[in-house]
Symmetry: C2
Subunit: 723 residues, 2 copies
């Protein structure tokens, strides 16, 4: 035991030496990197920043999207590494009760043993990113109304995508940057024969489960392997036994040496969405009103479930996953509100707007260019917020199954009357299987007493809102123009007694019904859906019109922000929008609070200390024996006196970055990005140098498990491992 | 914000440099210190270890006991510094609703403003420690039974004490060391005019309250000042306006420079009780049986209260402090069990016994000397444990008010029939005020439904125990020879319906009653107390007899342990027994788990980050303003970029050490010891180098608050401050 602290303490020394002086904020578009060349070199990048700016060159052509996750090629034969949680669906898809691959893990010893990934799995290789801002903007002028603008832009985007997708091998998207200031057409090769190659047991790949979600210290082996297959002609093809592994333009070497505290790291990936350029008013609203209320609503929702369905009851079992989901984001909001309350985020936002306005007002040209837009944008934000409380309240009521099912089923009847391509997303033919599964799932997740109480609660909150916040159709059908608890109880009792939507068969039958069938129904929830449909559609239309107005104003604001930053010598990256970005930084711990420091590495020893033998802390026996025997192989890292498991970095990441290859200065894979820490949940809004940390699986841990626990020697041989 | 981590990280560097190589375990009797001279010098002690071994020389003659707490002289005029929690009772005693000194804090600007401490407050200055082992043992031989031995030793101790206390100025005690291997007569000057001089507001002195109890990072200003007064003749005297400040033989200088990470520190104090030399079997029993059961009982007790007295009910209010007490030790046991489960403590104990036995068996003289005692001791331990489950179960039943009050009142009637001096402690005249307060307190802490349910629960557990565990008297009066839930419910319903002990007046009347009165009573709980009294007394007698047997065997075991350790060159300290001890070590952080490190210092910044404005995190406004303004005065410590508040050290301490002066190598006061960390709760049994940490108030924080917040300039001038 004595050796331990001395060693931990030793590893802190490196942090001291490497304490960086530059902020690591930024999710950069690859083409921006050459402008950051000096910073990157100073921080430790050894490859030429110019090369990383080119999508068709190493290493960027080895980085791929899985749609929602990131991955990378790690062999010349299309082997792809990503997070375990990114291939979770595919492992589950191939599991049966008798052969549960989630529990056991999976290893294909040869190509022929590889398994088809879950339906819809894709590997997207971004090949071209072309600016289409001019094309989108041509013909769009200030005479258009918000709704018209929204429609016009939507049409242009669809045209450009359709054009690009003439070649069926590609999936194309038009992405908006800086709120619509720039548009890029992104053309990605869409490989659609994806196979599962290897995944460790869930007790490695998802070690710590929900308990450790967002948490540090962490000990999760969050990695797995896919392989991309194409037709014999090298082009994407549907699954076929004749298909052959895709030969990527390049692939990443995997480092068995890993990184040390303070080392330079970077990651390329597809971060989902951030709100770094929201206006002060939007921040104030989110953190002052919307998040606290949403957190409260979630907690109330949970309280109702726990009261109506006490621990041990049948009803409670049905709501465990609902509780988990509600609690998860209540925790997320809690973290953000806590960070917001403790930081000077709002003051900085306010200051930025003051500074920006002063900068605009200091120059008549700037006033002419941005002055009006700033005011209008703030006015639009206020307008958009006007009904937030009503909408949020009704949205939480709408999280109950009967109300939700009735509305979705009726919308389906409407959407089905349109050609498939014109239907709203979620109601197209390709969505029907999932839609049906959703309708079936309600059977296992529904209890009338719980839902009645939840609806009563949120409807009473709604009924108590200001008159002008009310939706006539809702008031009319439910009698909610003013709060009357007894009346509402009676009403809901009746509705739940009469509705047949609690029956799975009935729900599935309604999937085939026409709009007319719905209109004739006497089912109280169907009647409710029919009665509020027009009103709901009207609200959706109004929201799209507001979105159209934002499409005029936000680009002007971003233009001002970029120009202002340029005037003070600061490059600007765009908010994340699921497009390819690069982030750089260092391996580094953090201080969660006065007196406490989190070290940047965890180790096998810490993993075994967490062990309880019960999920989610139940490592495979073989792994534990290796830990006890100190079988470190070539993956020993002296500062932790063990094999490192996970590490922290200052990289700027968010959801969608999962699975991103973490690269050292030579662009060797030293880890996989898989989570952020609790204190950086607010990172989607505000980057704090001291608290923004990203969590990675250490490549040494991945290789150690593959070699010593799972015996994945075929893959270790296939990959290029740097020793 | 940027500066923060860099600075924290900077302070880690010192830890690296100072990582000590010697274990700091040991609560040493001062006379042992010269033997440790080399170690002490190597670690950083600058004063002569020989001087610290003498009670009549500096610095030991500046260290005093308050009875349960430690303190020290810090001025030539009898000024004494100790923990805030050690003078809490005196601050409370001087508080009224209109003038709440706990809330406001207190500062006497001159001697005349000083307030009498709570009744019974004493300052004990240890002047002589004399070995009396031979005296105690003379005339005690192996022919005595356990009970006789117990009585004989008790009588000898009483004689020696009475002799020594001929001089009324002194309080004397005979303390047993190494389980009775050695006895020392300790003669302490007992100063009985003690006055409250200064205490910060509770929101400084008890900052963090129960929430932060045992916790690190910590931000508690746990200090306060008393002054010792004596008669004009310099001898202890009862309170009188004519008394004068006591002039101590020496006093400690207070350091305004404080300590740094890695610095040598030592503390002198009166640690209460440890179990470091318990046998493997005793450890196994405590951690395998007794603690887990006690933890479970406490949790069951809490569950019953929470169910019968739901949140918000009147009954719940009555049990909040009961819940807090139960939960506090459930947490304590939880920490110990957790530490035990994660460590190799039991293996080490087992190994030690194996090694010790091997060492004994290797030599015929040793076999003759220790061989039998070892076996007998283990047999006695097994015998002692035989009824543990019955006793623990009945003890938890006995934590209910009616049962406890009835038994105590009846015992009082018995004890009162004896001369005061012969009565059992707790039943003497001096105890009567507290006894009465206890009887009154029940009124605010009693609910029949709760108690009935608790009693039912524990009596049913008792009833389910093996037949041979049963106490006849208990079975007879309660009908518990076998479990019968319904019958017991009926019985208890009747008892609670009929008893008048729920009435305060009735309880107080019983305090005056005779044994005969009790025997005539029809009150069901009185009847229960009467019916079980003889049986209880018999059990108490048997326990004393076992204690007498331990007094023969444990000294032999300790003699073997000491000889064995001597053979491997290891000095042995005795288990803590509330006598003066010295512990030494270094300022040092720790790693609570893989990937996390606790720094050895907290700071004003961290204090303000904890602030919620609600107790226990509601610092005085003035303090917070000074923090905001970064008014650090001369107490700034660069590694934390602020004033340090608390620090950690490797010192070996336990309850009773509270208030101990923490000294640097020059014997200057650099802090006050006031708590241990959660991970070292098991320290009473097992010292773990990596996790045993003691928490201190930093002298710089104390001086900073005194100077900048409370304006205690008179005291700052009175003390000798090293700048």
């Amino acid at each position: 035991m004595k050796k331990r602290l001395a060693i931990l303490v030793g590893s802190i020394a490196a942090t001291v030496i490497a304490a960086p002086t530059l902020a690591d904020e930024g999710m950069w578009q690859p083409h921006q990197l050459p402008a950051l060349e000096n910073i990157l070199k100073e921080k430790g990048m050894e490859i030429n920043p110019k090369s990383i700016s080119k999508l068709t060159e190493f290493p960027m052509n080895a980085v791929v999207s899985l749609g929602g996750c990131t991955a990378s090629f790690v062999s010349p034969k299309g082997l792809v590494v990503t997070n375990h949680h990114c291939s979770y669906g595919s492992i589950q898809f191939n599991s049966t009760a008798e052969n549960n691959l989630l529990d056991k893990g999976f290893l294909a010893k040869s190509l022929s043993e590889e398994l088809q990934a879950a339906p819809g799995s894709r590997v997207y290789v971004t090949e071209e990113v072309t600016s289409v801002t001019d094309k989108i903007n041509s013909g769009i002028d200030s005479t258009l109304s918000g709704a018209e603008r929204y429609q016009a832009i939507d049409n242009k985007r669809k045209e450009l995508v359709a054009d690009c997708e003439q070649d069926k091998a590609y999936r194309c998207t038009v992405s908006s940057f800086h709120g619509g200031l720039e548009y890029y057409l992104i053309k990605a090769l869409a490989i659609r024969d994806v196979r599962l190659v290897h995944a460790p047991a869930k007790s490695v790949g998802k070690y710590g489960g929900d308990v450790d979600n967002w948490m540090w210290p962490r000990h999760t082996g969050d990695y797995s392997f896919y392989r991309a297959y194409v037709g014999k002609d090298g082009k994407p093809a549907d699954y076929s036994e004749d298909n052959v592994p895709y030969i990527p333009k390049s692939f990443l070497k995997v480092s068995a040496k890993g990184v040390a505290d303070g080392d330079f790291v970077m990651a390329a990936g597809y971060p989902g969405r951030t709100n770094r350029y929201r206006l002060a008013e939007e921040v104030r609203h989110a953190f002052g009103s919307s998040y606290p209320t949403a957190k409260k609503y979630r907690e109330e929702f949970i309280d109702i479930i726990k009261t109506v369905a006490p621990e041990g009851s049948d009803a409670r079992v049905k709501y465990e996953s609902t509780i988990a989901g509600l609690a998860n984001y209540a925790k997320n909001y809690g973290s953000m509100l806590n960070s917001y309350g403790r930081s000077d985020f709002q003051q900085r936002k306010d200051q930025l707007e003051t500074d920006l306005n002063a900068w605009i007002q200091a120059d008549s040209k700037r006033i002419a260019k941005y002055g009006e837009a700033m005011q209008q944008l703030n006015a639009l934000i206020i307008k958009e917020q006007h009904y937030w409380l009503r909408d949020l309240t009704l949205a939480y009521a709408g999280r109950t199954n009967m109300l939700d099912a009735a509305k979705r089923l009726y919308r389906l009847a409407h959407e089905k009357s349109k050609p498939d391509a014109e239907r709203e997303s979620g109601y197209q033919e390709r969505d029907m299987k999932r839609f049906e599964q959703g309708m079936k799932r309600i059977t296992r997740r529904y209890d009338a007493e719980v839902e009645k109480t939840v609806l009563h609660h949120f409807f009473m909150v709604y009924a108590g809102l200001d008159k002008e916040q009310h939706v006539k159709a809702v008031d009319k059908v439910l009698g909610l123009s003013k709060p009357d608890a007894k009346q509402l109880t009676k009403k809901l009792d009746k509705m739940f007694k009469k509705t047949k939507l609690g029956e799975e068969e009935t729900r599935l039958q309604w999937m085939e019904a026409s709009v007319e069938d719905f209109k004739k129904s006497k089912d109280p929830f169907i009647k409710l859906a029919v009665a509020t449909y027009e009103s709901d559609m009207q609200l959706e239309k109004e929201q799209k019109a507001i979105a159209g107005e934002f499409q005029t104003l936000r680009p002007k604001y971003m233009e001002a922000i970029i120009a202002y930053n340029q005037s003070i010598g600061k490059p600007v990256y765009a908010d994340a929008n699921s497009t390819l970005r690069v982030t750089y930084g260092n391996v580094k711990g953090y201080s969660p609070k006065d007196g406490a420091v989190m070290m940047p590495f965890t180790s096998l020893r810490g993993l075994s200390e967490k062990e309880t033998g019960e999920w989610p802390f139940n490592s495979p026996e073989k792994l534990l024996k290796l830990v006890s025997a100190k079988t470190h192989g070539e993956y020993y890292y002296e500062p932790v006196d063990s094999v490192p498991v996970n590490f922290l970095s200052t990289l700027d990441s968010t959801g969608g970055n999962s699975g991103s290859p973490t690269l050292n200065g030579k662009a060797e894979l030293v880890g996989l990005l898989f989570d952020g820490i609790f204190e950086s949940v607010i990172g989607d809004w505000d980057f704090d140098d001291n608290l923004n940390r990203t969590i990675h699986v250490d490549s040494r841990y991945m290789l150690w498990v593959m070699e010593h626990v799972d015996g994945a020697h075929n893959l270790l041989e296939e990959m290029a491992i740097v020793k």
